[in-house]
Amino acid sequence: MMSEIIEVSNVRKDFDGKRALDDLSFSIQAGETFGFLGPSGSGKTTTIKLLTAQEGYQSGSVQVFGNAVEALKDPKQMKRIGVLTDNTGLYERLTVDANLKLYCNLYGLSYSRIAEVLHEVGLTGEESKVVSKLSKGMKQRVTLARTILHKPELLFLDEPTSALDPVSTERIHCILRTLNEEGTTVFLTTHDMYEAERICDRVAFLNKGKIQLQGPPRTLRVNHSDSSILLLLKDGREQLVGQNPEGAERIREVIASQQLASVHSNEPTLGDIFARVTGKELF
């Protein structure tokens, strides 16, 4: 049976009288990859700051590893988490190796871990390169290497693939899937619904500091589907038919006339569902 690693109940957070998070409640189980989806300014980064004890809150409760989140200020508890912020936070004048050595020393790890972690993120052989000379995608992988250097149980990732090219994004997704398979719990924020759908077990839609909807991506899509079927014809036309006797008859006709190219489910994307629920686009 999985245990809850994060439990947030009725949290309210204000900045200078302005509501940033409103009655926020959700829980994450050990081993899950949980995605927080929302447009810029919806409260995603604030939530990460709350969950990592960087920010306080006005009311409600936040528990991480079964303790009040403030317990993370204890270095022993801090070692159990890894945080990738919205900025690389790397020392640009130093080499990859020097950046990672610093954190090996802070966490009391052997330097041999550097080769391991660089292998994990696909940067073997790049250790002597100065960080400022690396591409954005490589810098993000070095940051991820630094974040997972101490093998944290719980990983917080704030828009880990934001502004990365598709190849770098795919690499990061592969790494995250592997880490999750090895038992790491992942909490990530994103405004990329494709990313959320690919790597998250569950997602929550955040808008104006409130969770509008949460659940597994597949369940959300099925629940918001109108059950219609999309027929793609050989001449390029599309036809939408319902799951009813008329729809079945139409499909038979199209097959008989040999016009059918393919049949598709007409489930909405997470982006479509977000727009329906909030009346806003994700970007």
Binding site: E55, P75, T85, N87, R93, L102, N105
Partner: protein
């Protein structure tokens, strides 16, 4: 619990980073030129004799410290450190160690280059130097914490450090006795007076006490500002 290993890790990182930072390195050697110029002036009988030492504390102890702290904030690297097992004390000590070591090296260098006549009571003079250095490093830390960028450390820091580090020069431009008296209590003035008193065999209790008060106030203020602004 405070870990020497973690403090050393921060120090070594700062050291490696400084070696590749041309701006900081060129700033650090400025006191050497002052010492060289002072050497050309011959024997000086006033507290101005110790100006290159005070400049070393201002430029290396305060300015470099402010730059190192502000850069961590500007590049968002401080957040990484704060989200690691480092505690507040370790960050404070680790981030101040490089400026301390570099200042001491620079002070020794300017004493030799400037041919500064130091008091015979070496231990007392060293203690006074370390106490004053603590004040200037704290001032640098405060400037670093309130600045958002390295550039801002110059804007905020120059007026502050001009007052706190160059009282000797400012006093020559002021006529008000009251202001001159008040400025006499600034750390640079007290340090200069202390060394002069030591050299001339006079009492040093009062300047030692005033400098100690400066340490308490500046360190206290640093901790207060750090707690308030560390994640900004």
């Amino acid at each position: 619990m405070t870990s020497i290993r973690r403090i050393q890790a921060v120090f070594m990182k700062d050291y490696r980073d400084l070696l590749k930072n041309a701006y900081m390195l060129s700033t650090a050697i400025v006191p050497l030129f002052f010492a060289f110029m002072l050497n050309q002036e011959g024997e000086i009988e006033t507290t101005a004799a110790f100006l290159p030492i005070i400049l070393s504390m201002v430029i290396v102890g305060s300015f470099i410290q402010a730059g190192v702290i502000a850069e961590e904030k500007e590049k968002n690297t401080l957040r990484g450190l704060l989200l690691s097992p480092l505690n507040t004390t370790e960050i404070f000590i680790g981030k101040s160690l490089l400026s301390t070591v570099l200042s001491i090296m620079m002070i020794v260098a300017v004493i030799f280059i400037g041919n500064i006549s130091m008091p015979d009571q070496t231990l007392l003079a060293a203690a006074a130097t370390l106490i004053s250095l603590a004040v200037f490093i704290s001032l640098g830390t405060i400037v670093g914490l309130v600045s958002r960028t390295v550039m801002e450390t110059s804007v905020i820091g120059i007026p502050v450090l001009f007052i706190f580090g160059m009282g000797e020069i400012i006093q020559t431009m002021i006529e008000s006795e009251l202001v001159i008296d008040v400025m006499g209590y600034l750390p640079d003035q007290q340090y200069g007076q202390l060394l002069l008193n030591l050299r001339e065999g006079q009492a040093v209790g009062e300047p030692f006490f005033v400098l100690s008060m400066w340490v308490v106030v500046s360190v206290g203020l640093t901790i207060l500002i750090y707690k308030k602004r560390r994640f900004d």
